[in-house]
């Protein structure tokens, strides 16, 4: 039997209801919201955040954070941009973009685990380092004019849905299964809930932590390739601030900032919520500068709601 009360209590449910309410409001007030081109556009813009949020969810579940995801995405944009411009196959660009991300993520994890450096410090350092490296590589020039032929992974569609969204969906299903049913997935929760207990019960803390950072890096790298292919332009600023969008999606989606709790589906819903709000505000022609106000307030309210609920439960 399905326990409805448990479902309703879940954070994912609240976010889903919020998304439905907002969608209803937007589709009544503007006829353009439900148009095919708007939805396609929305899905395209979301896919990069949704893909990277898979890894970020796991990182935050372990009680960590990765603020270098935006720089990693940018670096992968640069690498794949050069390869695509140089006439190499998009597949090679994909492999190298993911490998670059994986490498950066692995170093993040290694510094955290073996150097005993707090995650925010390690990844903050990495964020600046990679950005400087991007600057060196690009030398202030942009990559532009990536040939349309190799931009299918970013611009193409299958059954009317953008390819990046298919990729995001596939990865979300695979990793949701992994997180819920595979031993390593369960270890991630264990590490976030109580690292000491996890260690005693035989979880390899170090390799679990390195794994989540390496995965986040690899996924950010993948999102970087998609981003380069979608926009066709790579700038030294590419991906700047992207990590904040990802973290916002994860936190809004119910992953506890204190670790131990959260789901990938929740993060996807969080990404949808932010995306729909941004999109709806343009459609309703709300002055541009109040966008940050709404999203910022939403993040604080949602975290507060979490804390209040946690207090009630412990009472």
């Amino acid at each position: 039997m399905i326990n409805f009360q448990r479902i309703v209590r879940r954070r994912e449910f609240t976010v889903l209801v919020l998304i439905l309410i907002l969608s209803a409001i937007f589709s009544f007030t503007t006829e353009r919201f439900l148009s095919v081109s708007n939805i396609t556009n929305l899905l395209l813009q979301l896919s990069g955040v949704a893909i990277t949020a898979i890894g970020m969810t796991m990182v935050i579940i372990t009680g960590g954070i990765d603020v270098s995801a935006g720089s990693t995405l940018g670096m992968a944009c640069v690498v794949s941009g050069y390869l695509l411009m140089g006439g190499y196959s998009p597949f090679l660009a994909l492999v190298l973009a993911v490998l670059v991300g994986l490498g950066i993520g692995f170093v993040n994890g290694a510094i955290i685990v073996w150097g005993d450096v707090p995650p925010i410090i390690a990844t903050l350092g990495m964020m600046n380092l990679i950005r400087a490296l991007m600057f060196q590589t690009l030398g202030g020039r942009w990559i532009s004019g990536i040939p349309p032929a190799c931009r299918t992974i970013g611009l193409g569609k299958w059954l009317g849905v953008p390819i990046p969204m298919w990729i995001a969906t596939f990865l979300i299903i695979v990793f949701s299964y992994f997180l819920s049913y595979r031993p390593l997935g369960r270890h991630i929760y264990a590490v976030g809930n109580n690292p000491e207990a996890a260690r005693v019960s035989g979880v390899n803390l170090k390799s679990t932590i390195i794994f989540v950072y390496a995965l986040t890096g690899a996924l950010a790298g993948f999102a970087g390739l998609i981003n380069a292919a979608r926009t066709g332009i790579v700038q030294t600023n590419s991906g700047m601030g992207f990590e904040l969008d990802v973290i916002a999606a994860v936190v809004l989606g119910g992953t506890s900032a204190l670790g131990g709790r959260g789901t990938i589906i929740g993060s996807l819903l969080g990404a949808f919520l932010v995306g729909i709000i941004k999109n709806g505000m343009v459609l309703l022609n709300v002055p541009a500068l109040s966008e940050g106000l709404v999203i910022g307030a939403l993040i604080i309210i949602s975290v507060l709601a979490d804390i209040i609920r946690a207090r009630r439960e412990t009472r």
Partner: protein
């Protein structure tokens, strides 16, 4: 003879000790701080500055923040003051926030200029202006109107919401709009100095306003961004993009038809003029009202407007399919 030799040696030593520092000081250090480094537009200004430094025998320093960030820009200027440069030219991200640090520079005896965009009007010694704001705004609006056949809805995608130059151009665009009663501005959005963000914003706008016929990309990063969005949305021919940007970024969109024409000046010349003007003032010269200055190394004859302490490079240029290939910045 021996007596004399000693005197000569002494004289030479004196000459070395006292004259060398004078020779060393002769080489001015002139710094330019752009809104951000790493975009083609400011790269072009850097190129011009470097060329001027070579021609005029001064040292040119080009440094700035990696995002269009006011705080980082202030930090950069602070460092330059500590380094002890002779002149600082800056393209402020925020005209008011930049004032205190420029005041500090001036107290230290540093010549303070703004270039490309103005700010701290009561502090700076000179504003090196690419073209009169009114002409840029009017020309942009005229080019858009022509491309839209003088009717329909259009939107503006600007960049930093506090950038003085962009906001002033928009002001004049709106003033000029009165000439075109059948055109309507539906919204103004901001995309920072980020081309990918500009693409997203423009795609949202294209969806939000089904009758949209034109988009202005107000800065050098947002203009190619809106053109790419028009291309991606498959709206070439229905929606026309224009704006203020560099030929190297706009070329593909002029070729594919998303852009009919766009507006700019020569940023290489602007960089050159900035360094030239700083040297001119450091040498103790003054600019005079209404004179057209001969600046070797640039293609225009800059004018000085005493009332606003502004040196104007020349009229804005319009780029289209006929001349977009002639420029390499």
């Amino acid at each position: 003879m021996k007596k004399y030799r000693f005197s000569i040696v002494l004289a030479l030593v004196f000459l070395l000790v006292f004259a060398l520092p004078v020779f060393a000081q002769e080489k001015y250090k002139i710094a330019f701080v752009p809104k951000l480094v790493g975009i083609p537009y400011f790269n072009a200004m850097e190129e011009g500055g470097k060329k001027a430094a070579e021609d005029l025998g001064v040292e040119f320093i080009y440094t700035g923040p990696v995002t269009a960030d006011v705080a980082k820009q202030i930090e950069t200027i602070d460092n330059l003051i500590t380094q002890g440069v002779d002149a600082i030219a800056v393209a402020p991200n925020d005209p008011a926030a930049i004032t205190p640090v420029l005041e500090k520079a001036k107290e230290k005896g540093i010549l303070v200029l703004t270039s490309d965009t103005d700010g701290a009007q009561e502090v700076r010694d000179l504003f090196v202006n690419q073209a009169i704001e009114k002409e840029i705004g009017y020309t942009t609006m005229d080019e858009l109107a022509k491309a839209m056949d003088y009717e329909g809805e259009f939107a503006i995608v600007s960049c930093g919401p506090t950038a003085w130059n962009l906001n002033t151009w928009i002001l004049y665009e709106l003033e000029r709009l009165a000439e075109y009663p059948d055109m309507e501005l539906v919204t103004i959005r901001y995309a920072e100095e980020d081309v990918q963000l500009a693409i997203n914003v423009a795609l949202d706008l294209i969806n939000a306003f089904p009758n949209l016929k034109g988009i202005i990309g107000q800065c050098s990063t947002s203009a190619p961004g809106v053109a790419e969005a028009v291309t991606q949305a498959g709206k070439i021919g229905e929606i026309v993009a224009t704006g203020v940007s560099v030929p190297s970024m706009m070329r593909p969109y002029v070729k594919n038809g998303a852009v009919k024409s766009f507006v700019l000046w020569n940023p290489v010349d602007l960089g050159y003029l900035t360094v030239w003007a700083a040297k001119y003032l450091l040498d103790g010269n003054q600019f005079e009202e209404g004179i057209e200055y001969e600046v070797p190394g640039i293609s225009t004859k800059p004018r000085y407007a005493a009332e606003s302490k502004m040196l104007i490079l020349g009229p804005p240029m319009v780029f289209d399919a006929s001349n977009v290939d002639d420029f390499d910045f």
